[in-house]
């Protein structure tokens, strides 16, 4: 616990130093920030959009916008949290613009059961790619909060602030999303 806390503090200090250098026009700092978070952010965008080229565009736009804020960028939380929020917001906008026909290819309507059976049975058949298929069956709002909370370690309060919604809404979306995901997984296992 203490070790992870120290690790988190180290990361925050490193992030703050990078942001400080970036604000003074260091190109190396910008490169370092990109290298540090690019894979995580692309993973988030792909999970949310289910389209790699769109996801790449989202990450690209987020970094270009971030680079444009040089000299005046103020970091209030963690850099990863900030960039993840930017990606989530941009992905939501892209998702709205997409026509329903092209949206989320490969989504199958959830035919879940409400049983609370063991998930471990599904572990053997589900890999991370498959998880994305399962998550894709959730409504976008629920998927967004589950991914930000579980994959990007953002707190509900942070997510609520970033998305401009109440913490109660975040928590209820998260709960409904998890329930639905469990139902989906159970239905897959049953099949």
């Amino acid at each position: 616990m203490a070790v992870s806390l120290i690790g988190q503090v180290d990361l925050m200090v490193e992030d703050n130093i990078l942001v400080w250098k970036f604000n003074r026009g260091s190109k190396d700092a910008l490169r370092r920030i990109y290298e540090k978070f690019k894979d995580d952010l692309l993973g988030l965008a792909i999970t949310l959009l289910r389209d790699r080229s769109l996801a790449e565009d989202v990450v690209h736009d987020v970094f270009v916008s971030f680079a444009g804020a040089v000299g005046s960028f103020h970091l209030s939380g963690t850099l990863k949290g900030y960039l993840s929020t930017c990606v989530a917001n941009s992905a939501r906008d892209r998702n709205r613009l997409r026509s329903p026909r092209n949206a989320e290819p490969g989504i199958i309507q959830a035919a879940g059961s409400d049983s609370d059976g063991p998930i471990e049975n599904a572990i053997g058949i589900e890999e991370s790619g498959k998880l994305q298929d399962l998550l894709a069956r959730l409504p976008y709002e629920q998927r967004e909060i589950i991914v930000l909370h579980l994959h990007h370690e953002m707190r509900f309060r942070e997510i609520a602030k970033a998305l401009g919604i109440s913490i109660n809404t975040v928590q209820s979306r998260y709960r409904y999303g998890l329930d639905k995901l469990r139902s989906i997984v159970n239905s897959v296992v049953t099949k």
């Binding site: 490169r31 000299g71 991370s128 469990r182």
Partner: protein, 148 residues
Amino acid sequence: MRPKENTEEFVKVRKPDVKTSREMDKRTLDDSLAAMEQTMRAKSADQKPSTARIITLRRMIKLTAAAAVIIVSISFYVAHQGPGEQNDIIIAEALDSPAKIMTMKSLKIAFRRGGIEGIENQCEKALKILGPEPASLSLADLYNGSQS
């Protein structure tokens, strides 16, 4: 394990392991660095004074310099030229009246013209005219020429 925690763990351990492509890295970094440079250039341009501001500043500098020259000229004139003529007139007037020779005004003018020596000369002149102990002249008369 409770179903909720079970599901959370299930999602957590399957975080997608995605790698960016080299093309994406190049495109994103190139565009980001260009955006960064553009912002920095715009900010430094904002900090440079505009042409109008430079003109105004130049005018202000010129006006200030002109005012300074005028003030110095007037001061110089007052210190060396103007009051000097006035002093001569005053001293000439003062010489008419021995009491006036010792007035504060005449001493002040004498100091301005010749410093301590000027005052001494003025005093000597006064003593020559008045004598060492003028019985008819009080201290008040000495320092107030108008009363004599």
